[in-house]
Amino acid sequence: MATVAQPAEHAVTEHAETSTGLPSTKLAIWLFLASDCLLFGALISTYVLYRNASTVGPFPSDVFDIPYTSVSSFVLLASSLTMVLALAALQRGDVARSRVWLLATAMLGLTFVGGQVYEFTTFVEEGLGLSTNMFGTSFYVLTGFHGAHVTVGILMLLTLVALSFGGRITPEGSESVELVGLYWHFVDIVWIAIFTIVYLIPTNPPAAGG
């Protein structure tokens, strides 16, 4: 431990070094992300269990538009790049540039969520409701849960932008941007898993008579 050899008088200062040297907030967000993996893990397991269980259509192959979802996935992944640029700009001391990139990240996220809303509407029009079959049940809850995560991320990004106008986001205090960034990248990575498992791996063609 880094602090073992630390003299006593340092320990009583107001902002004592942490035992690991890592900021507590960062440790907490990593723990949260690890825990969140199990939330998605349980949902993805449910989806995998039920992917061939629907007895009536529409089935995944009837409704999925892979090129469309690929584009919106690309938009979401691109937002990870702008997130990195936002943090890098802030650490360089360029608050204004950082704000632009944060806003761009939020807009890309919003495009993804908008695309998801459009996709859901299309699916519903094609006859796939939440309670139509096992596919509808497990698909909407899994992807909707991810969409809710993205929405929370957008809210946090916009909050950061608003705070930056109040002078509360400074190069010295770039940690809050870094933490939101960790969350944002996590949500992107989870989408890679969901996109692969839900959209790209084909389901068995429904057997006659279910």
């Binding site: 003299p7 893990g41 349980a42 039920y50 079959n133 705070l163």
Partner: protein, 630 residues
Amino acid sequence: MASVSVPAERPKGLLRRPTATSGFWAWFTTVDHKKIGILYGITAFAFFLVGGTEALLIRVQLARPDQDILNTAVYNELFTMHGVTMVFLVVMPLSAAFFNYLLPLMIGARDVAFPRLNAFSYWAFLFAGIFIYSSWFLGGAPNGGWFGYAPNSVVDPTRGMTFYAIGLLIAGIASTVSAFNLAVTIINMRAPGMTLFRMPVFVWMGLVVQLLLAFSLPVITIGLVELLFDRLFGTHFFDPATGGNPVLWQHLFWLFGHPEVYILILPAMGIVSEILPVFSRKPLFGYQFVVFSGIAIGFIGFGVWAHHMFAVGLGPVANTAFGVSTMIIAIPTGVKIFNWMGTMWNGDLRFTTPMLFSVGFIAMFVIGGLSGVTHAIVPSDYQQTDTYYIVAHFHYVLFGGAILGLFGGLYYWWPKVFGRMLSETVGKVVFWLMLIGFNLTFGPMHVLGLQGMPRRIQSYPDSLGLSFWNLVSTIGAFTIAVSVLIFVVSAIASFRRPKEMENDPWDARTVEWLTTSPPPDHNFDEIPVVHSLDELWHRKYAETEGGRVVPVAAGGSGDPAHGLADEHGAGEHDGGHAIHLPGPSYYPLIAALGLPVLGYGLIFGVGYVVAGFAITLAGLFGWILEPSAE
């Protein structure tokens, strides 16, 4: 209090930051881990009395054959609420009370890593409890068992299981947030010199429990969300008619539910590991083994869940694998038992009340552990499952284990928290009555179970020959109730005694006794520098060449780095008045208040959902914008 330095007035923030740290209203805005610990303790104990009353009603109904004091619907609600209450609203928060109060003190910290988040956890837990209990008045309490098996929990026409799902989701948020907070506190807030292997075992068990919570609660969260969607929005997760699988619920529930068992018992194991060395005047035998066994229990605990499902029909391979992993988890548990006995062996034993509870814990836990091993054997479990034998088993580990351990902790740390001793004489009466009552209540259930009495039945005919042991069990339950009542009276009476206790009444070994009892707001006038395991003991005693323990002369061991909570330490730091502590805040309470409102909205209309969201968001934004005193 002077120790809180109020930040310079700044116009930002929705509400003025509260400043009072004493008085009635301060309890609503406090972020002090000690006050929050006390709040957790009082709330959990109140729920303990409620859950105990539910148990007594069950025992009254079962006292004689062919009784109809409670009808079947009410009986179902009572056993469900008894289980939900005791697991989620008593043992978990009572453990949280000990963790909150003691972890920072034991690692030499001034508070937890995130004090406002800690307050949020408490309020969310309290509201979850109130939310679940409000179901009695709003359309019926949960009635599908604490395990809420689908599809019964989905198709039940009353609102009970909706309250169950939402209430446990809120409680889950509280526990998860608290788990992150306390885990980070232990990892990151240790005093200089407090390396991981100088931490008291209780702190280690705290760390393992927080990680178990962080990784098991998400799984039940998804299970509860799916249950809620099935009940409210017409999804088919657990509906076999459309291809859904009710066994999925069992997997999700027990993948959480078995780590949960260790979440309930490890805190008590930690408490006992602190008490036994103090009253044996010996270091804990095999400290590393106890710690690593706790970690091993934490890991293996994630790989045994299907032993709750042997009768489901998972097939011989799955059943064998989970039977074997269940037997394996008995090994680290057994290691701990031998370590505790090794600690007492040849010790200078003092049978104070905390010590009696700890020894009682070991004995009762061994009985419960052994009956547990019998269900790891699959064919044997086929006979026992869903009988009173199972009820006997888990009450031996959860009451004989967790509750006796927690009572030991209450007696041991009461003087630390309140600066007054609980009566030792009365304490011994409480212990013996509780131990006898406990064995009278749950011992006969082994016999009843092996005779074939099924769980969760509201009555039984006299001709089955179950009447005698059921009556004994009911008499035992009332004996426990008497012992708890005596404890309550004795606890209240302790406040009428003068606060003239010394700071270290038990001659303890760990650093929480280094500061005053009760501790000041800032915990330590000067943060202790830790040089060894059992730091306080080594400051008080040295060992001669012959191996005899002799007291060190007053004022510390002569090493200047050792002196701290003594007079010059306090003087130097102005009694801690210059120490900067986080200020109290309204926002944790506000953010938590939105959760039950949102929950009622899911049942009673979308307007409340919007209101609940708005309240929580307002709380969170106020929180972010609050002028920092932290």
